[in-house]
């Protein structure tokens, strides 16, 4: 029963398509949610959806690389990064990001619809002459839209913590792109994740600095024990 279910290619492709839609829904949430804790949860859900997509593609294509990607995404983006941001977020006690720059949530949702259309039109202009898997094309459109929506988050939200999540959303969009051409050496995938982690580490530390005075900042870093060194 289960094996026949797993072997049904058409069904699996449909599942991937449904997962794509879910990914877009999470992006819309990230654009409009004010509570940082739920933003983080949504990001973790989004990353988990990507894990599922990679796993389904593994069932379709059978490349072990995809399974490894799924595992890497699960460990780094579903577990480690949200956990880390959560720890820092609790220390600096920013729980809500109420301010929006330039765009209110409703407007930014409308803009992102436009962005999805734009990605579709743009990419179909380049891809029609090629014999590419249909699924790849949908993935590319969703991936590009997700990247653009993440960029919108960076522009339209004020708090650095929310911007970090916007950046991470962009990165997920790129990953969605990359899953379909996942022949990059695995070492490189790991390096990319390490790079992402350092970036998140640095920006969150800087976020602590932004809403505190200089002395307070050093005190906070001391309590976090991130900057090594002794108090004089």
């Amino acid at each position: 029963m289960i094996t026949s279910f797993l072997a049904d290619q058409a069904l699996l492709e449909d599942i991937v398509r449904i997962l794509f839609v879910f990914v877009l829904i999470t992006a819309a949430f990230i654009l409009s949610t004010r509570n940082i804790a739920s933003l983080l949860t949504v990001y973790a859900v989004q990353s988990f959806l990507l894990t599922l997509i990679a796993a389904s593609l593994y069932l379709i294509e059978g490349s072990e690389k995809l399974l490894a990607m799924a595992a890497l995404t699960l460990v780094s983006k579903v577990l480690l990064i949200p956990l880390f941001i959560n720890v820092i977020g609790e220390k600096i006690k920013i729980s809500r990001d109420l301010e929006f720059n330039y765009l209110e949530p409703t407007a930014s949702l409308l803009v992102s619809m436009g962005l999805i259309m734009l990605s579709y039109v743009f990419l179909s202009g380049f891809f029609d002459e090629y014999v590419l898997g249909k699924l790849f094309f949908v993935g590319a459109v969703i991936g590009l839209s997700l990247t653009l929506m993440g960029m919108l988050v960076i522009f339209s939200r004020k708090k650095v913590m929310t911007k970090v999540i916007g950046y991470l959303t962009m990165e997920n969009g790129v990953l969605l792109f990359g899953i379909f051409v996942a022949d990059l050496p695995f070492v490189i995938e790991i390096l990319i994740v390490i790079d992402l982690m350092i970036l998140v580490l640095l920006t969150t530390i800087l976020a602590i600095g932004l809403d505190s005075t200089k002395n307070e900042y050093h005190k906070r870093l001391q309590t976090l024990k991130i900057w090594s060194g002794r108090e004089e």
Binding site: F126, Y167, V174, F177, V181, I188, L206, A207, K214, H218
Partner: protein, 492 residues
Amino acid sequence: MIVLSYLAVGAIMLILIAFSKSHRTINAFTTLHTLVFLAIGLYALLNTTVPAFETGSEYFYVDHLSIYEGLIAALLFFFASVYANGYVESLIEAQELHRNNLKIFYLIFSALLTAATLAFFSDNLTLFWIFAELTTIFSAALVAILSAKENIDAAIKYIFIASGAMLFSFIGLTFLYTLSGEVLGSGSLNWTVLIENASLLSPKMMTASFVFLFIGFAAKSGIFPFHTWLPDAHSKAPSAVSAILSGVLLNIGMYGILRMYSIVRQTQAEHLISQFLMGFGLLTIAVAVLNMLWQNNLKMLIAFSSVEHMGVILLGIGIGTPLSLFWTLYYVLAHSLTKASLFFSAGILHRQYESNLIHDIRDIFSLQPVAGWGLIIGSFAIIGMPPFPIFSAKLFILLEAFGFSKPLVFAVLLLLVIASAAFARFLIEAFTRSSKEAGIEDSETPLLPYVVKRGMKFPLLSIIFIILALGVFFPEFLETLLNKIVYELGYL
């Protein structure tokens, strides 16, 4: 061997710095690091056969372009680390830098040199992308290390714009990968493979992937419209870091664009991309120059001047003739050195007046004669006055541009005149102000001269000596080196 020795030296130096106690030893190890990197680069240039693959795999590749860029990076880091010895000590004394952060400063400084150098030697474009990303993060940390609010603001802006744009580059890489997969059977992101098969690549897809790659690399080099982070980050950073940001990090983005363009040049898309690059080059120069004209902040002025020069370099790449490439490469060296001398002078002036603003600068020749003259000579050099090297580089690039369009050359010339006016206006206004004329309030608090620390004048004076020498005398080895690069990029 070369890449491995870079990696090994980089790692050893990080450990040595981590276990050192006093500022003097930490700085000595950092300077040693830069000197060893210089030595490795020179050794590679003189004693090994290049171009060649490295570490037995296709990840790293050494050719004359990578050695050239690596040498420029090491040279600038050397000057900056010598300068940092006194400069950072002053920052600590002024309590702008926390003593606890001293070691972190040098650790990141050293890691930045290693990451930047390895970026130049990456054959795999994804690996280049990763190292370029790392340099963004490390340098942003150096901007933020003063932990003043505006520094953190600038660093955050820098990270989000540069790294966010770099994600678009990654989409471009994915495009390129599919594209090469269609031609070669299995996809490849190795520059050497791509350039070998460039003529087979579909021009339409190539244009798409180039545009995506351009977004990221342009943001890294401060090309309009992604330049907005640059003036903030470069002017808020400690001056030793500003010199590196302008002199080395901007080159990384330009290096990426040049590598990609050399592939595009072999395809049908060449004409379109060429115009695209020249267009952005012109826009970048225009925006930078207009921001320079009424600039009251010295470091902002120098930072916007970096944007302007990146525009000229982009223009030089876009023209795409062998001669314009030759002079663009020379321009990169000339700009890096000149810009460092300007930031070093500005750093001394900032210690003196504790401000970069034009109306705080007075009595400059009695207080800081060396920095004052450094700034004057540097300004002459940066606006491209003869006999300085930027003059000849600009001249020949513009002569090549004539072949494309006369209005373009006239527009650039006009903009360059405005840039010169901006520097002239700043220098005249700042350097003619004396406290005697300024009135009573100023004479009540006479400024004490800031004692320039040991070693801070040496890099400034040596750079001025080098650019003067380069301007009047074009060394033969440099000419051979640049010719080899032009040849290896497939221009001849």
